[in-house]
């Protein structure tokens, strides 16, 4: 035994590093580091063709059109994409109650309305109460941004417009978050974010823009 043990040579581990290196290089080549990023949106559920189009007052719709030459128009006037964010913010907030911009409902009124319904939504009531507690009686806009595009509109422009609109809502949320909790929206807890989202939902209609009828 003693002789045998002496005879076994030590396994050379020097090549181990090379093997590991090869594996490492294999993974480096076959994988991509980039994380998937993008603008997440929710499509409206399909509606039966004979269904009544939802009625929305004209002042509550901000129509954004992008034509085949990639020109952007909001409320019938040509604008550029950079100005769009501010337009959407003004439209949603409407601080001076301009009759051309969106209407508002206070959270307390919404709560009352929900309570009066024959079968009130408990979750909604809970959320409204929490908003009153934590954020205050803030107005919620009835405004909807309607984005219509031509079939020949470039996708890049479409994304830029989407980006500008989403940016407006994100900035509003941030402002409210700072005002209510003293922190930007992204630093809030999940349930606090939900309250803010309730006040400022991304109300952007896009899939069937022509279905939005004006009264």
């Amino acid at each position: 035994m003693a002789r045998r043990r002496k005879g076994i040579p030590e396994i050379n581990a020097a090549s181990m590093a090379d093997i590991a290196f090869m594996l490492l290089i294999f993974f480096l080549v076959t994988t991509t580091m980039s994380v998937d990023k993008g603008i997440t949106r929710k499509l409206p559920p399909p509606v039966p063709p004979d269904a009544e189009a939802p009625k929305v007052k004209e002042r509550n719709v901000l129509t954004v059109l992008v034509n085949k030459d990639n020109q952007v128009a909001a409320k019938g006037e040509l604008t550029d994409i950079d100005a769009l964010t501010q337009m959407v913010k003004d439209f949603i907030v409407n601080p001076n109650d301009d009759p051309n911009l969106s209407e508002h409902e206070f959270i307390s009124d919404l709560l009352e309305k929900e309570m009066k319904k024959p079968n009130p939504d408990k979750k909604k009531i809970e959320t409204y109460k929490r908003i009153l507690d934590e954020i205050g009686n803030v107005p919620k806009s009835k405004g909807v941004v309607s984005l219509q595009t031509d079939r020949a509109t470039k996708y890049e422009v479409y994304i830029q417009v989407q980006d500008a609109i989403v940016k407006a809502f994100n900035e509003l949320r941030d402002d409210l978050a700072k005002q209510a909790y003293g922190k930007p929206y992204n630093d809030l807890k999940e349930d606090q974010q939900k309250l803010i989202r309730e006040v400022y939902p991304v109300s952007l209609s896009e899939a069937e823009p022509r279905r939005v009828k004006t009264k």
């Binding site: 581990a13 590093a17 093997i19 994988t31 990023k37 993008g38 949106r41 509109t153 994304i159 980006d163």
Partner: protein
């Protein structure tokens, strides 16, 4: 001084490389964990548009991809230069989308199906027409959570 220098030189031991594999292994594990294997071979050219308000896609296992863009150079003879749809590894037609959605759903646990996101990776030069068509197909099969893939601009 001279004596000390000489002594030092002689006594320097060789640096042990025994721990080198371990270091490499740690690197290897890091890359294995932090990266994802490329989902598919691109049959279409995709130059993502830029957007500032992008968010990271959470839960990659619940994301399915739909690619839209002009075919790669080698495939242009067969498919032309107009933007086409790619599902999985092959170029597909609009009517195949519902089937694709069903297949993707079948691969996930039942409970996770409502949380699934369809990520649209669309070339920025594409016309909206085909994108709208795809969106309508997705709506028909109740695949409502979508994501427009975009990247952050380099200048901030």
């Amino acid at each position: 001084m001279a004596v000390i220098g000489k002594k030092k030189e002689r006594s320097t031991p060789a640096i042990s490389t025994a721990s080198l594999p371990d270091i490499i292994f740690i690197l290897l594990f890091f890359f294995m964990v932090s990266t994802t294997i490329k989902e598919v071979d691109y049959k279409v050219i995709i130059r993502l548009p830029e957007a500032t308000q992008v968010k990271k896609l959470e839960n990659k296992s619940l994301v399915s991809y739909i690619y839209i863009g002009p075919p790669q150079k080698a495939l242009q003879e067969r498919y032309g230069t107009k933007p086409v749809i790619q599902l999985n590894d092959q170029i597909a037609s609009l009517s195949q989308i519902p089937q694709y959605v069903e297949l993707e759903r079948a691969q996930r646990p039942q409970a996770d199906v409502p949380k699934m996101t369809f990520s649209l990776k669309v070339d920025k030069e594409t016309d909206m027409g085909i994108v709208t068509d795809v969106k309508q197909e997705l709506r028909k099969v109740q695949a409502l959570k979508i994501n427009y893939s975009a990247r952050k601009p380099y200048t901030k």
